[in-house]
C-alpha cells in the first residue's frame, strides 16, 4: 500500500551497500545543526528561568501573563510566512535567517534592561518569538538545498537531534549559573546573549549560501498560486496541520500524566527532559529510516506512536516503567514526524519556493496547534481530563487513518532534484 522500499531496508542493514562520493549529511547541515544547538542553549536558558524571573524577581503578576501569550502567537504566524516568501524572492536564505537570529539575540540583552515594565517585557518576549518565526523556514530551506533529495529526512533528522541537544543543555546551564551566583539573573541573560552571539558568528562566518545558479542577482517572482496547485504539497501540509490539531501539546500531555500519577508540578521538567532525550536519540535514525524505507511510512509510524502514547495514558497505571515507555514513544513521535514532514515538503516543492513551502507548513501547523490547545482547554474545563484523554485517543486514531488515505496518492519520491 505504501512504498516501503524493501531493498532500501536491506540496504539500511547492510551499511556498505551505498557508494557515494558526497557525504550523506552535508557540511552545511552539520554547521546549521551546530548553530541551532548553540542558539537553543541560549534561548532555553532564558525560557527555563523565565517564570522565576518574571514572578519572583520582577514580581510581575500572573494575571498579566496570559494576555501576552495570545499576542505573540498571531505575530509569529504572519512573520513565518513573510520570511519564507522574502527568502525565496531574494534568494537570501542565510541573510533572512541571520536577521531572525540577531533579533532574538538582541532580546536577550533587551530583557536585561527592560526591568519590570510589563509592556517592555511583553515586547521583548514577542520580538524573541518573532525572531524564531523568521529564522525557521529559511534555515530549513538551507538544509534542504544543501542536501540530495534522497537524503532529506536524514539531514533533517541530524539537524533536529543537534537542536535538541541545545534544548537539554540550556536549562542545565541556567540553573548552574543561578546556583553558583544566587539571584543574579543578569548573569544568565549575559551568558545567554554571549552564547547567541557565537551562534550568529558560526552562521555568518562558516555557512556558505552561494546558490549554484545565476538567479542570485535578480529578484524572482515567487509562484505562490502554483504552490497551492501543487497537490502533494497541499496534501502533506493539510495532514501535518491535522496532526498538529489532534496531538495535544506537551504541557497537556504532562498534565494528563500528572493527573494519572497524582504527582506535583515539580516533575514536569523531568518529563520534558524524558521526551527530549528520546527525540534526540531517535531523530537521526528515524530520518535515515525514512529515506530508506519511505517517508510516508515513517510519518505514519510516528502517528502510531502517538496513538500508543494516548492508549498508554488511558489504559495503563502510570508507574515508572510505563512513564518511561510513554516518554520514549512521545519522543519517537517527534522524531518520526517533525523532520520527516520537513523532508516531505522539501521533496514536493520546487527549490524556488522551498522556503515559502516550509514557511506555509510552519504557519499552518502552529495555527492548528494553537486551535487544538484552546479546544483541549475547553474540553478539560468542561468535562475533565478523563474525557480529554479519551477524545485525544479517538482523534489520534482518526487522524492516522485519514493521513494514511490522504498520503496514499502522494509520491514519496522527490519531484525535483533541488539545486544541487
Amino acid at each position: 500500500m505504501y512504498p516501503i522500499d524493501v531493498a532500501g531496508l536491506r540496504g539500511l542493514l547492510n551499511r556498505r551497500s551505498r557508494a557515494s562520493t558526497r557525504p550523506l549529511i552535508a557540511r552545511t547541515v552539520w554547521l546549521l545543526g551546530l548553530v541551532s544547538c548553540v542558539t537553543d542553549i541560549s534561548s532555553e536558558m532564558i525560557s527555563s528561568i523565565l517564570p522565576v524571573y518574571l514572578f519572583v524577581h520582577l514580581q510581575l503578576s500572573a494575571v498579566q501573563f496570559g494576555v501576552i501569550d495570545g499576542l505573540y502567537q498571531g505575530v509569529t504566524a504572519i512573520a513565518r510566512l513573510a520570511s519564507g516568501v522574502v527568502a525565496d524572492r531574494w534568494r537570501r536564505y542565510k541573510l533572512v535567517a541571520t536577521l531572525g537570529y540577531v533579533l532574538s539575540a538582541i532580546c536577550k540583552l533587551g530583557l536585561l534592561v527592560t526591568g519590570n515594565a510589563w509592556t517592555a517585557v511583553a515586547a521583548m518576549l514577542s520580538a524573541d518569538r518573532l525572531g524564531k518565526g523568521i529564522r525557521t523556514a529559511p534555515r530549513d530551506a538551507l538544509i534542504s538545498l544543501a542536501t540530495r533529495p534522497q537524503d532529506l529526512a536524514s539531514a533533517f533528522g541530524v539537524h533536529r537531534a543537534l537542536d535538541t541537544v541545545g534544548v537539554l543543555v540550556g536549562p542545565l546551564l541556567a540553573f548552574w549559573i543561578l546556583s553558583s551566583m544566587p539571584n543574579r539573573f543578569d548573569a544568565v541573560f549575559i551568558v545567554s546573549f554571549a552564547v547567541a552571539l557565537i551562534g550568529i558568528a558560526a552562521l555568518v562566518l562558516l555557512i556558505d549560501d552561494r546558490t549554484g545558479d545565476a538567479s542570485r542577482a535578480r529578484h524572482l517572482t515567487v509562484d505562490l498560486p502554483g504552490l497551492l496547485r501543487n497537490r502533494p504539497f497541499v496534501v502533506i501540509t493539510a495532514v501535518a496541520a491535522l496532526t498538529s490539531f489532534v496531538v495535544v501539546s506537551d504541557a497537556f500531555l504532562y498534565l494528563l500524566l500528572q493527573w494519572k500519577r497524582g504527582s506535583g508540578a515539580e516533575t514536569i521538567p523531568l518529563l520534558y527532559a524524558g521526551t527530549a532525550t528520546s527525540y534526540l536519540l531517535l531523530a537521526a535514525p528515524l530520518g535515515r529510516l525514512a529515506d530508506r524505507v519511505g517517508r510516508v511510512a515513517v510519518f505514519l509510524l510516528g502517528q502510531g506512536c502517538m496513538v500508543l502514547v494516548y492508549a498508554g495514558v488511558a489504559v495503563l497505571d502510570v508507574g515508572l516503567w510505563t512513564l518511561a515507555l510513554v516518554l520514549l514513544l512521545h519522543g519517537a513521535y517527534y522524531a518520526a514526524t517533525d523532520g520527516v514532514i520537513a523532508a516531505l515538503i522539501s521533496g514536493s516543492t520546487p527549490s524556488e519556493v522551498r522556503a515559502s513551502g516550509l514557511a506555509a507548513l510552519n504557519t499552518a501547523t502552529s495555527l492548528t496547534r494553537l486551535a487544538g490547545s484552546i479546544l483541549v482547554g475547553v474540553i478539560w474545563s468542561w468535562r475533565g481530563p478523563g474525557t480529554v484523554i479519551t477524545l485525544a485517543l479517538i482523534a489520534a486514531v482518526a487522524a492516522a487513518v485519514v493521513s494514511a488515505f490522504a498520503l496514499k496518492g502522494v509520491a514519496d519520491t522527490p519531484i525535483e532534484a533541488g539545486s544541487v
Partner: protein, 347 residues
C-alpha cells in the same frame, strides 16, 4: 547550492570571535558581578551560637522577621530585628523568598537552585529547621496563624492552567508544627449568596487566619473577577463575602482587612494598599501611590507594613519595607531599608 569548506580566514575569524566573546564574558562576570555566597546546608544549622543567644533575647519582646535585601553576603537571608528604628539585624544562614512567623513557628518559602525546585522550611522555637516540604510551584504567599496551629502557602503552578501557557495558583493549608497537609483550598466547597458556587477556573491565593485559626479569609479569582472569601477550616467550606478585595490581611484586633486594590487593565495593572472595615465593609484607599506586590502585614492595629520593590532590571532585586497609618492621615514612612516579606511577632 555549494557545500564548500569555509575558507581558512573565516574559520580563523570565527575562532578569534569565540575567544573574544569568552574573554569578555569572563571579565564581565568576574568584575561586574560580586560573588554572593551559595546556599548552605540547612541541616548544619541556620544560626551560630552567638546569634542564637541574641535571638532568644530578641524574641522575648516584639520583633520583625524579614528577608534581608542589602547587597552583599546576607542578601536573601531570613533576618530578625526588634521593632525599634535602626535596630541591629540578626541574620540567619537560611535563604527565603517569603517569610511568616508566629511566636513559636516560622515558615520560609525558598527557591532552591540546587537541586532545582521550590522548598518550604518550617522553623521551630529554637531556630531549627524541623521539616522541609517540596513546593509544587513558585513561592508566592505564606501566612502562619497567631496561635501557631495553622499555616498556608500559595504557589504559582505553571502549565496547570487550561490554556497551555497560563499560570494558576495552588493554595494549601497545613500544620506548621508537623508539615501535615490540612487541605488545598481547591478542594473546599464554595457558596455565593447561599448557593453552591463552582467553576473550573477557580484560583485561590493570599490566605489570612483569625487568631484562633478556625476561620480564614482568602482571594478567589474566577472569570476575570476578584472575590473575597471567608473560610471555615473544620467544615472545609468558603463563602463569598465581597468583591474587589484582593490578597487580604486581617488586623490583630480582627476589625480590619488590609488588601491590595487593583488598578488598570490588560497588562498595565498595578496594586495599591487599601483597608476595609469589617463591621461596615467601607473601603478606604490609603495615600500610597507606589505599586505593591506581596501580601500586606500589620505592625499594630493602626498601622500596616508592606514591601515596595525598586529594582528595574535583571540586576540584584532591591526592595524596602514601608509603614502607613490606616486612618490615611499621614504619608508613608520607610520602616526597614533593604528588606521584604516582613512578619511582625508580638508576645
Amino acid at each position: 547550492m555549494s557545500d564548500s569548506r569555509p575558507s581558512r580566514a573565516r574559520i580563523a575569524t570565527f575562532i578569534v570571535f569565540v575567544i573574544g566573546v569568552a574573554v569578555a564574558l569572563s571579565a564581565y562576570l568576574y568584575f561586574a558581578i560580586e560573588p554572593t555566597p551559595t546556599t548552605p546546608d540547612p541541616a548544619a544549622g541556620i544560626i551560630g551560637d552567638d546569634t542564637r543567644k541574641a535571638l532568644v533575647e530578641l524574641r522575648r519582646g516584639s520583633y520583625v522577621a524579614f528577608r534581608d535585601m542589602a547587597p552583599g553576603p546576607t542578601y536573601g537571608r531570613l533576618t530578625f530585628a526588634s521593632l525599634e528604628p535602626g535596630a541591629a539585624r540578626l541574620v540567619t544562614a537560611l535563604p527565603c523568598h517569603r517569610i511568616h512567623f508566629s511566636d513559636t513557628v516560622g515558615v520560609c518559602l525558598a527557591i532552591a537552585t540546587s537541586p532545582v525546585g521550590f522548598r518550604g522550611s518550617l522553623i521551630d522555637d529554637g531556630m531549627r529547621v524541623t521539616q522541609t516540604m517540596e513546593l509544587p510551584g513558585l513561592p508566592s504567599r505564606t501566612r502562619v496563624s497567631r496561635n501557631s496551629e495553622l499555616a498556608a502557602y500559595t504557589v504559582f503552578v505553571s502549565g496547570d492552567s487550561y490554556l497551555a501557557s497560563g499560570l494558576s495558583t495552588r493554595t494549601r493549608l497545613f500544620d506548621p508544627r508537623s508539615a501535615t497537609t490540612i487541605g488545598d483550598l481547591e478542594s473546599f466547597a464554595v457558596t455565593r449568596d447561599g448557593k453552591p458556587f463552582r467553576a473550573v477556573d477557580f484560583n485561590f491565593w493570599g490566605v489570612t487566619f483569625t487568631r484562633d485559626a478556625r476561620r480564614f479569609y482568602a482571594t478567589l479569582g474566577t472569570g476575570g473577577r476578584i472575590l473575597l472569601v471567608e473560610g471555615d477550616v473544620a467544615a472545609r467550606t468558603m463563602r463569598v463575602i465581597a468583591e474587589d478585595i484582593e490578597c487580604p490581611s486581617l488586623s490583630p484586633d480582627e476589625k480590619h482587612i488590609a488588601f491590595k486594590k487593583r488598578f488598570g487593565s490588560g497588562f498595565d495593572v498595578w496594586w495599591q494598599p487599601a483597608v476595609v472595615d469589617l463591621a461596615t465593609m467601607a473601603v478606604r484607599q490609603l495615600p500610597e501611590p507606589k505599586h505593591i506586590d506581596d501580601q500586606i502585614e500589620w505592625l499594630d492595629d493602626g498601622h500596616i507594613l508592606y514591601a515596595v520593590g525598586h529594582s528595574t532590571s535583571a540586576a540584584l532585586r532591591r526592595a524596602d519595607v514601608w509603614t502607613l497609618a490606616i486612618d490615611g492621615a499621614s504619608p508613608p514612612a520607610m520602616f526597614l531599608a533593604d528588606a521584604e516579606s516582613p512578619a511582625v511577632v508580638r508576645p
